[in-house]
């Protein structure tokens, strides 16, 4: 039969989902970060540029001699400083000469600086030298009060037409950059937060949407998981959209069609072959039987005829077993009704004791009735197969015991045979599997007995387990649901792996 346990894997779609989310999220974060950095840089540059533009306008007015004009254009929060450094066109070459320049104070003082701080005091010699060399300069300056300024410098002429004098002067204008810095910093913060928030929202969105996208895939997986050897008729749902999942579903369904076909062919072959074999087997056994019973064969002939009859009967049993399993594969369900398991065990005892060749068989029950919901003929087959197995294996004592339990009924078949090797236990319920050594040999079993036992017990909603100790014996345990109860469906049909139990199997007559 097929193992369906590995077909169901809820983990895969979630992993794919996570991977999709991380992948798209990372890509999105990269793009958004790039945009944010660009916005930041552009904004900073444009803010600084507009600041400088105002300052430069005022500076050029001041240094062209239109002092009043320039001062009028100067923004209210801007600083200015005019140092007269020479007569006419004389320009000193030394920075210290600039520092030593005479401040020009606008006579009406209608435009004072916001504070009394000196701009030139904050400038370095190198900056002043640059001013003297190139005729202009620009620098960022922090006043002792902590205010940031963008300072522009120029060397120009102050002309006083009334007095007919012209003086050369170093003219400085400082515009507060604190606002720009704060704005830019705020922008950086806002952008950072926006990027993080956008990433989170995007990731959640992708995670949720990807479920939407992956849902058809999940449905395909679930449907494929429902397909078992028993039920190959199941098909995967085909989505309406002709996408990749559509392709997958169609391909899977094609595969299932072919699989079902070959499975059905095999099953029908088994069933047909069994049917066809029944007639010759019946004829062989019937004629051998007739010769033994109704004619007067010699002793040698009786021996030979007995072999023919016995082998024909064995073949008949094999054919019947094969048909039973073909039915099992076809998903044949058995009919159950309340019945007394004790009577079944007693019938098995009566049937097998005379032909068990001296093997002692005991039935151990808590009373005349232990009810189960079952098919009496098939449960009898279970008990018969298990007892026959023990007898074939070479047990001297076999005990059939039945007990009521909280969750149902426990039927045990205990023997003191040679035991089953650990390596054989996982295959014990496989078709045609034979344990090497004692259990194979000449045994007249079909090799299908335990496979049938397992199927019947599963059809009853029960389970069968086996425990064995080398040289001590074997215990087969069949758990059946009581009347009106089913065992926990999750555990239905599990076959115990036979790992040793802490308690020793109770062996009969030992």
């Amino acid at each position: 039969m097929w193992d369906t346990s590995c077909a169901k894997s809820d983990g895969a779609p979630v992993t794919l989902r996570l991977r999709l989310t991380l992948f798209y999220g990372a890509f999105f974060a990269l793009v958004v970060s790039f945009v944010a950095v660009s916005v930041y840089l552009l904004t900073e540059r444009s803010l600084t540029a507009s600041l400088e533009e105002r300052a430069r306008q005022a500076l050029s007015d001041l240094s062209s001699g239109a002092v009043l004009e320039g001062l009028r254009k100067l923004p209210g929060d801007a600083y200015y400083e005019i140092l007269i450094v020479g007569q006419g066109d004389q320009v000193p070459s030394d920075a210290s000469a600039v520092r030593a320049g005479v401040p020009y104070v606008e006579p009406s003082r209608f435009r004072p600086n916001p504070t009394d701080e000196s701009l030139v005091a904050q400038l370095s010699d190198a900056q002043l030298t640059e001013l003297l060399d190139t005729g202009s300069m620009a620098a960022g300056v922090t006043l002792p009060s902590g205010e940031h300024l963008r300072v522009l410098g120029d060397v120009g002429r102050l002309s006083f037409p009334a007095q007919e004098i012209a003086l050369s002067a170093a003219v400085f204008v400082g515009v507060p950059a604190t606002n720009v810095a704060a704005t830019v910093e705020q922008l950086a913060q806002d952008l950072g937060l926006t990027v993080v928030a956008a990433f989170v929202v995007f990731a959640i969105g992708v995670f949720l949407l990807s479920r939407q996208v992956l849902r058809p895939l999940e449905r395909v997986t679930q449907a494929a998981g429902r397909v078992t050897g028993r039920d190959l008729a199941q098909r995967v749902p085909v989505p309406k959209s002709r996408d990749e999942i559509y392709e997958l579903a169609v391909t899977l369904n094609h595969m299932l069609d072919r699989l079902e076909e070959s499975f059905e062919t095999q099953r029908r072959f088994t069933a047909d072959a069994s049917h066809e074999l029944r007639t010759p087997v019946t004829a062989i056994a019937g004629h051998a039987n007739y010769l033994v019973r109704r004619t007067r064969p010699s002793a040698e002939q009786v021996d030979s005829l007995t072999v023919i009859r016995r082998e024909a009967e064995r073949m008949g049993k094999l054919v019947a077993d094969l048909l039973e399993l073909a039915r099992a594969d076809a998903g044949f369900a058995i009919d159950t009704a309340p019945m007394n398991l004790v009577e079944v065990l007693e019938a098995v005892h009566m049937e097998i004791a005379p032909v068990a060749g001296g093997v002692e068989i005991a039935v151990d029950t808590p009373g005349p009735v232990v009810e189960v919901e079952g098919d009496a003929a098939r449960l009898k087959q279970v008990a018969l197969n298990l007892v026959q197995n023990a007898v074939n294996a070479g047990a001297r004592h076999v005990r059939l015991s039945v007990e009521r339990e909280r969750e149902g009924v426990r039927l045990e078949v205990l023997d003191d045979g040679p035991g089953i090797p650990d390596t054989a236990i996982p295959h014990l319920f496989d078709r045609f599997y034979r344990v090497d050594g004692a259990r194979s040999g000449r045994g007249n079993g079909s090799g299908l007995g335990l496979a049938i036992v397992k199927w019947i017990v599963q059809q009853h909603g029960g389970r069968v387990e086996v425990t064995s100790r080398h040289g001590e014996g074997t215990v087969f345990t069949v758990l059946l649901p009581g009347v009106g109860a089913r065992l926990d469906p999750a555990r239905t049909g599990s076959v115990d792996d036979g790992s040793p139990r802490p308690s020793r199997p109770k062996l009969p007559g030992v």
Binding site: R278, T279, G286, H287, R294, D335, P338, M339, E343, G367
Partner: protein, 225 residues
């Protein structure tokens, strides 16, 4: 001397027909063999046998149809042989009017026992039979029929039904029943109630009238009401 019962064997597999024929002759029956449905049916009309052993898969006219046509005019017991054994096939076989059903490979002893049982049922002069209302129990063949329908009973169910059927109208208390049918167990279980339940279910599958009645505070009785 009494006429030997005549058994018609309709079976297309000659080797199977042959040994059934030999066995039935050895049991002192007269036999006629035919190998297809049409011949079988005309032999039946011509010879009016006491019992028919009928294979299901026959050439020309299949066994189910043969059984149906025989049943239209006659109550002769029909035992069907078949290589099919699913429940549906069984039901169809019995619905078509057959009285019994054996699946290949069958044991010849079982076929002979069924032949004996069905011949006895037709001829009630033979002993070993209990009849109450529409219930017929063949004690040798351990078989029970209700209104001609064969009822599958376990050993204990049969014993219990036999106890009731041999004493119709007698009220048994649970203790008496337990002592007679389950002597190996000491009392105190509900085995009697459980088995009366089983019997009622099996005797009333076609909605027949109840045969085994509860007598409140006492026990059970089998009677026609």
């Amino acid at each position: 001397m009494e006429r030997k019962p005549l058994v018609l064997i309709v079976e297309d597999e000659k080797e199977i027909a042959k040994f059934i024929d030999l066995e039935l002759q050895a049991e002192a029956y007269d036999t006629v063999v035919s190998y297809d449905g049409v011949t079988g049916l005309s032999k039946f009309r011509e010879l009016n046998p006491d019992l028919v052993v009928l294979d299901l898969m026959l050439p020309v006219l299949d066994g189910l149809e043969v059984a149906r046509r025989i049943r239209k005019t006659s109550n002769t017991p029909i035992i069907i042989l078949t290589a099919k054994d699913s429940v549906d096939d069984k039901v169809t076989g019995l619905d078509s009017g057959a009285d019994d059903y054996l699946v290949k490979p069958f044991s010849i002893e079982e076929l002979l026992a069924r032949v004996r049982a069905h011949l006895r049922r037709v001829n009630p002069a033979v002993t070993g039979e209990v009849r109450v209302a529409d219930l017929v129990m063949n004690l040798d063949g351990r078989e029970a029929f209700r209104d001609g329908r064969r009822i599958e009973l376990s050993a204990k169910e049969f014993e219990l039904l036999e106890l009731f059927a041999r004493n119709p109208g007698k009220v048994f208390n649970r203790f008496e029943i337990e002592e007679k049918v389950w002597p190996e167990y000491t009392g105190g279980s509900n085995v009697v109630d459980v088995y009366v339940g089983y019997l009622r279910r099996k005797l009333e599958t076609q909605g027949e009238r109840r045969l085994i009645h509860t007598v409140r505070g006492v026990g059970y009785v089998l009677r026609e009401e």
